[in-house]
Symmetry: none
């Protein structure tokens, strides 16, 4: 029989990759034995793999540099992602570019319904495509080995065919002149996505402030919101205000995070 916890466990593992039995028991508020019992049929069916003390999604144990980057500063990214998810309504149309933070955003959007999502990230597409009546449009092509996303002309052409209410971008660096990136194709795609939406939000953790980006993506004009975890340096804050962009600083509160990750 399938219990509600089964889907809860799958959902947790989808975002975390792996978890110990003890951690799952703690998070779900049940005993170790109960988690073991829940996990058993899922491992037998091959959905989950088990190692002594922990479980993980079958196809995902020991993976990719991208997954590794997902773990860096994960708590901050998740808080940022949750804040952005709060800007999205059921039935909304979105564009998301490739990035660890936008992947977190996708994970925070798993409870939304009837979303229309346009992206070039297979990670984001995979998370949202089979859920809650969402429609997902994925730009195909040659996938980058690091991120599993498609770039290049065909991706640009594909994205150009859509118009959405909200574009959510991650960036490689932010200085007082605007948004910067390290990769030409990523920057081109980001620029395009900015033109294809009514509203534009940028997600970035504080480590990106003041970095020296290589390629300019855009200024702050036309950016509606910058969502981040720590207040930016004064120069950037001033530039944001001057451009009329809202600065969203979600509070890192521990009591109200059901996921518990911090």
């Amino acid at each position: 029989m399938l219990s509600k916890r089964h889907s809860d466990i799958l959902k947790i593992l989808e975002t975390e990759g792996t978890a110990t039995i003890a951690a799952l028991a703690d998070r779900l508020g049940v005993s170790l034995e109960t988690v073991r019992r829940d996990v058993k049929p899922l491992t037998e069916a091959g959905t989950l793999t088990r190692v002594h003390g922990a479980v993980g999604l079958a196809g995902q144990l020991g993976e990719a540099p991208f997954q590794k980057r997902m773990r860096e500063n994960a708590a901050a990214k998740q808080v940022i992602a949750r804040a952005v998810a709060g800007m999205v309504r059921d039935g909304d149309s979105l564009m998301l570019d490739t990035g660890t933070t936008t992947s977190f955003v996708a994970r925070e959007l798993t409870d939304h319904r009837r979303l229309t999502v346009v992206t070039n990230s297979t990670d984001i597409a995979r998370i949202l495509a089979t859920r809650n009546g969402n429609r997902v449009f994925l730009a195909g092509g040659a996938l980058r080995p690091d991120s599993g996303a498609a770039f290049g002309k065909s991706a640009l052409d594909f994205i150009a065919g859509f118009r959405v209410r909200l574009t959510i971008l991650s960036v490689g660096a932010v200085d007082e002149t605007g948004l910067m990136d390290y990769d030409l194709e990523e920057a081109e795609l980001a620029r395009l996505m900015l033109t294809r939406a009514d509203r534009r939000a940028v997600v970035t953790d504080h480590t990106k402030f003041g970095r020296a980006g290589l390629i300019r993506v855009a200024g702050f004009d036309g950016i509606d919101a910058l969502v981040t975890d720590h207040p930016p340096p004064p120069a950037i804050a001033t530039a944001l205000t001057a451009a009329g962009a809202a600065l969203t600083l979600p509070l890192l509160r521990c009591e109200n995070t059901p996921a518990g990750g911090g």
Copy 2:
């Protein structure tokens, strides 16, 4: 008959996703039994999914249909997948279509290196894209909610631009006249993939034998190998032999299955 409480329950679940019977009873100010009675016709109609202790909207609770199909007959599919993986060498070029069995194949290919993979399945792409120096070409477009794969003209055009050594197909049904499918677009894509490879392998578990498929994909001519878990009915075996296709039956007991005539 639809009572007011029915719509109330639906409304609550629309925002909450899932709820326990007790919570609903409490919120609606009626007894547990009444809620159970209300919920019953809705689950029977398929609007709601019910598990011990809770109800949820049909899509919200439980696993995605694709995941569910991945669990059905998983052991057999994995054995089949391992056998097919044995037909693939490092550096090979492959096409894989969307299907639970081909997704298993992708998982069995995670130790191969420098593969060139062309597919329309985001699941397969995700597994192989960020690994071992593989190159993955993914057909984009609107993703099917059930499988997370792209179909349609743009996918066909994309696939048509490649030529590989080996195409690995899953099919919906096999009868003595050849390979069948239930979906027109899937069948069209499969047909195309068959023309874009030097060699062609078909993976299928024994439950597909003798099923009544809707759309014809291809005959056995030109199929180099059919990999399955149980011997097919005589009529199909005869047709295979007549067409010169090899039949690969990996042994379920063996840990290390031989590549078998591939």
